[in-house]
Amino acid sequence: MKKTYAIEVDCANCANLMEQEAKKVAGVKDCVVNFMTLKMKVEFAEGADPQAVMNEVRTVCRKVEPDCEIFLK
């Protein structure tokens, strides 16, 4: 399953870091952060709960970039 989330982040390098960190989260099969369109595309692993996974993704992203935001619809 793939989902796209709107994100807010100020610098391109931070967006790259968010992508790297999100990829490491359990339940995330793949993740692409597009700084230019401020979108995070997440492909979830089979059977993962997107809401729970995304909360974790947000936590790890906050660690690399404290003032980033991921909008979980």
Binding site: V32, N34, K39, P66
Partner: protein, 629 residues
């Protein structure tokens, strides 16, 4: 400007004013220090906070931390040696100016590009109980009648049932000449109705309409990252740690070595070498690269979509720029795909009867040949009278028509059915007709070249494409004739769709490493070839969904000269990308060397960091301007 940007701008201005004022007044040392610290904290407190947070989270090499260390280091040096703090404040100030500029420039181009693609309709006018009401386009069902007033966007794909008008399709196709539209014409969502009220019967739901498809495509573009982008993010990952380690070595090793060897010609104080190391730290931020490369691609993709060329990701900009061979489907791509029945030969029946049987047999097909037969027959066809339709891909069809076994198709079909047929000496597509096993003659159908086709081939040559090729299911003579008239280098005729894939594969195998093969098709039967080619270019986004899905680049209209445009846009974009990579890395390395030798001061380091970033961002934005290419 966003709220964040406004606040930042204010902080920058306050700090800058304090800085400038301090250059003109002489204060006691302690007051002087406090004034500088005030300016420093106003502009950089968030950096210090983030640096501390990053440190806590185990990320010691992020740019906030580096900036914090570099500036605090410079302040410490000021305390012990010079009493001079302006450099430390300046580093922080200019770093923030750079960040601000970057965020502003990116925000601007982001808005710029989304404004270009501002084709999303907000509402649809629907007639309910004799009254026109505005509803969400999502709520409109298929076969509903919607009303589009002049000046409004067409919200859903449909067919005009009442009124005639002209349409502005510039946002979709880049074509500035309005298109006139009448009853019975198909209309695509996203275009703007210009002159008078139209009533439209919808043929698709909003989610399936052209406008949704395009927006989806544009919004998801550039998620597929190019090799240059991957290179840069890898580079950024190793660059910063390496420079930091070098800075540490630079601060400690030379003074120790110089002291040990007692070389008097070289400076031996730790202060001097720490200063040089701090310069390293200031230069170590990879921002210029990390922002300017994706921004170049983003601007390139944005500029291309303004021209009616939708590129599905930056990786395809890269491939397009490396394209050496362009292979074309013929029908509907280089030719208009509007066939006309030009002649009927050897017919034992009346001409109309022969056309009738052929048209009936092909009535289920959407192929242009089938349409031209129906057009030539000119009367409505009774589809119920046709049964047992079998399609022979790339050959023709057979069916039961009015109780007769009819087969209609090309020479190959005749050979397969083992019917003796009379070959034709005319240039065109030949449809042989067999009724109840007996050869009844053939119909000659021919197609016209698109007006822009010769120009399209010529400008491809100009854009550096070394070989153009036609791949067609049509026969040898038609292909040869088309190739000759357009100046196309090579052609392969009588290809089945699977043969086209094989031909494309042959060409890909023949190319040296790093040159790409593009295939351009109008989408009918082309999906496998489009996905097999290095770059699949689908023409006429209003056309086949499968083609749009399979293609890497979608041309919004069916003008083949857009292919050359796409190549030129990509080349310009890649040029800018390479300039930025070389320029940014070059200046940084140069300044690192000068810094290590003691020839650079903090101001040069600031230029290497912020100045280079600003220039690279401005250069990246150039990729947006592609109209004149």
């Amino acid at each position: 400007m966003t709220h964040k940007q406004k606040v930042m701008l204010l902080r920058i201005i306050i700090a800058a004013v304090i800085m400038v004022a301090l250059q003109f007044v002489v204060l006691p040392p302690l007051v002087n220090l406090m004034a500088y610290m005030a300016a420093y904290l106003v502009v950089g407190y968030d950096i210090l906070l983030k640096a501390a947070l990053g440190f806590k989270n185990g990320r010691i090499f992020d740019e906030n931390f580096l900036m914090g260390v570099a500036t605090l280091g410079a302040i410490a040096l000021g305390l012990y040696r010079t009493g001079e703090y302006s450099e430390a404040v300046a580093v922080m100030l200019f770093y923030q100016i750079g960040e601000w500029f970057q965020s502003y420039a990116v925000g601007r181009s982001r808005r710029n590009i989304s404004a270009l693609m501002d084709i999303r309709p907000d509402y649809a006018n629907i007639e309910r109980d004799g009254q026109v009401v505005k509803v969400d386009p999502d709520e409109v069902a298929i076969d509903a009648i919607i009303v589009v007033n002049p000046g409004e966007k067409v919200p859903l794909d449909g067919v005009v049932v009442d009124g005639s008008s002209s349409l502005d399709t510039a946002a979709l196709t880049g074509e500035s000449v309005p298109r006139s539209i009448h009853i019975g014409d198909e209309i695509i969502s996203g275009s703007i109705n210009l002159t008078s009220v139209l009533k439209i019967r919808t043929t698709k739901e909003f989610g399936e309409s052209t406008v949704s498809k395009i927006l989806d495509l544009v919004e998801n573009a550039s998620s597929r990252k190019s090799r240059s982008e991957a290179f840069i993010s890898k580079f950024a990952r190793v660059y910063t740690p390496i420079v930091c380690v070098l800075a540490l070595i630079l601060a400690l090793l030379p003074p120790l070595v110089i002291r040990a060897l007692d070389i008097t010609a070289l400076p031996s104080s730790f202060g001097e070498w720490i200063y040089r190391a701090l310069i390293f730290l200031v230069i170590s931020c990879p921002c210029a690269l990390v922002i300017s490369i994706p921004l170049s691609f983003f601007a390139g993709i944005g500029g291309a979509s303004r021209e009616g060329v939708l590129v599905k990701g930056s990786v395809f900009i890269e491939s397009l720029a490396k394209t050496r061979v362009v292979m074309f489907d013929k029908t509907g791509t280089l030719t208009q795909g509007v066939f006309q029945v030009n002649a009927v030969h050897h017919s034992k029946l009346k001409d109309e009867e022969l056309i009738y049987f052929a048209a009936m047999a092909e009535c289920a097909s959407s192929h242009p040949i089938a349409k031209s037969l129906q057009l030539a027959y000119g009367k409505p066809l009774n589809h119920q009278a046709v049964t047992d339709i079998t399609e022979y891909s790339g050959k023709g069809v057979s069916a039961m028509v009015d109780g007769h076994q009819v087969a209609a198709g090309n020479d190959k079909l005749m050979q397969q059915l083992q019917v003796a047929f009379k070959p034709c000496h005319h240039v065109g597509t030949i449809v042989h007709v067999v009724i109840d096993g007996e050869y009844q003659g053939h119909i000659v159908i021919s197609d016209k070249l698109k007006y822009s086709a010769p120009q399209a081939i010529a400008s491809l040559k100009q854009a550096g494409i070394s070989e153009t090729v036609i791949l067609t299911g049509d026969d040898e003579r038609v292909a040869a004739d088309t190739a000759k008239r357009l100046g196309v280098d090579a052609y392969f005729a009588k290809l089945l769709p699977s043969d086209k894939v094989t031909k494309v594969e042959e060409y890909i195998a023949k190319q040296p490493q790093g040159s790409m093969v593009a295939f351009v098709g109008d989408g009918i039967n082309d999906a496998p070839v489009l996905s097999r080619a290095d770059i699949g270019i689908a023409m006429g986004a209003m056309g086949s969904d499968a083609a749009i899905e399979a293609a890497d680049v979608v041309l919004m209209d069916d003008n083949p000269s857009k292919v050359a445009k796409a190549v030129k846009i990509s080349k310009k974009c890649m040029g800018i990308v390479y300039q930025n990579i070389v320029f940014a890395i070059g200046i940084k390395v140069l300044c690192l060397i000068l810094g290590a030798l003691g020839l650079a001061n903090m101001w040069l380091a600031i230029f290497a960091d912020v100045g280079v970033m600003v220039l690279a961002v401005l250069n990246a934005i150039r990729a947006l301007f592609v109209r004149k290419l």
